[in-house]
């Protein structure tokens, strides 16, 4: 009897194990036409954080798609900084994330914050991709070479060379106040980031 019971449960567990492989849900904007690569559902997180909430953010300088270079420490004493790492250009959820931040410049301003979008793609790829999003108000930075060096410093470089879908909120003293290394297959809900920004002033 025990064996049969066991078989039933094995069947059930087997069926449940199919669930994670159901394709991740996303809504692609027609702005990208048929150019978005539809990959498989990935391991939610595939790296080990190297920083903590309360620790000093590692400094970095990266080239921007708009030209020039941006240095994190330049904003110390001036602005709160949000880093939005997204895994790769031309992928579904990523193409769906920054255009949302593009319409909430006011929320960033109210919280005296700026946003850096970062991927490990090179500048020309980022240029072509972000052009489909309309004019972005925030800098998009390339962590292409040395490949993923900044992502590695924060501990969000995955084993296949792309980054996690991760958000860091860094205060004016350069201290990390919020980290969300999100399931790579899902977009972080906007309210979580806005909540973290609103906490900064309290």
């Amino acid at each position: 009897m025990q064996t049969k019971k066991c078989i039933h449960w094995i069947g059930l567990v087997g069926l449940l194990s199919v669930l994670p492989f159901c394709q991740t849900a996303f809504a692609t904007s027609d702005a990208f036409k048929e150019n978005i690569y539809k990959g498989e559902t990935l391991k939610p997180v595939d790296s080990k954080l190297m920083v903590n909430v309360g620790s000093q953010a590692p400094d970095f300088t990266l080239p921007s798609v708009a030209g020039g270079k941006m240095t994190l420490s330049r904003y110390r004493g001036g602005k709160n900084v949000v880093l939005s790492f997204v895994p790769a250009a031309w992928t579904p959820v990523c193409s769906d994330q920054w255009p949302g931040y593009n319409i909430i410049k006011g929320i960033f301003e109210q919280n005296d914050a700026i946003l850096f979008g970062i991927t490990v793609d090179n500048i020309p790829t980022l240029f072509a991709w972000t052009n489909q999003m309309g004019k972005l108000w925030f800098p998009v930075l390339s962590d292409f070479w040395p490949h993923g060096a900044v992502a590695k410093k924060f501990g969000v470089l995955r084993s296949d060379g792309v980054t996690e879908r991760a958000l860091f909120v860094i205060d004016k003293k350069g201290i990390i106040r919020y980290i969300d290394v999100h399931d790579i297959n899902k977009r972080p809900p906007l309210e979580d980031l806005v909540g973290a920004l609103e906490k900064l002033g309290k």
Binding site: V18, Q23, A25, D30, P99, I103, G134, E191
Partner: protein, 191 residues
């Protein structure tokens, strides 16, 4: 033992039933078809309830909206074209509302694919959207609609007996309020 077997079978079927919508190869709603089965929450504000001709609490289906024609836009706060089209869709709403013959016959709603209530609210505030928007946080409706790219427009004609039919659907390419209204009027044969 029979009981255990029956239990596990029921549980298995229930899970299959839950999983099926996620894996089913649904297709985009097309002209001539009826809408996929899904519910929307009855709006909380009296203004939106009045606009849709609904009352009370709970859920409703689109054909329950008190109108002859309902324009459904599947959009996302994160979609650049939906953002670009938002002012033009608002104009369409105002055009309908200021036309006496249409005001009570044609309604617009938006469904935010994968958008949380906060995200829907952010979009509504940013673009001052005057018609009801509904969150589809878990992509349930989006999946039922064949995971269409956004924005996707569905024009639904509701008959007097409560039955309905999709009379037009299109992916993007919003031509502006007047041409779109003409298109909807022709497709729905609304006089």
């Amino acid at each position: 033992m029979k009981k255990t077997f029956a239990h596990s079978m029921i549980l298995t079927l229930l899970i299959l039933f839950m999983v099926y919508p996620a894996v089913a190869d649904n297709k985009a709603p097309q002209k001539g078809e009826t809408l996929p089965a899904f519910n929307l929450p009855i709006p909380k504000t009296s203004a939106e309830k009045a606009y849709l001709g609904l009352s009370g609490e709970g859920v409703f289906k689109i054909p329950q909206i008190k109108a002859k024609v309902v324009i459904v836009e599947i959009y996302s706060m994160y979609c650049p074209f939906c953002q670009k089209d938002a002012p033009g869709i608002n104009e369409l709403y105002h055009l309908i509302e200021k036309t006496p013959g249409l005001k009570n016959k044609m309604k617009i709603i938006g469904i935010g694919a994968g958008n949380t209530p906060f995200e829907v609210d952010t979009f509504k505030k940013t673009y001052q959207v005057p018609f009801p928007l509904f969150p589809d946080k878990d992509f349930t409706i989006h999946k039922a609609c064949g995971e269409v790219r956004t924005p996707y427009f569905i024009v639904v004609k509701i008959n007097d007996d409560g039955s309905h039919r999709i009379v037009h659907s299109q992916l993007g390419d919003y031509p502006g309020p007047e041409p779109f209204l003409d298109l909807v009027l022709k497709a729905s044969e609304l006089k």
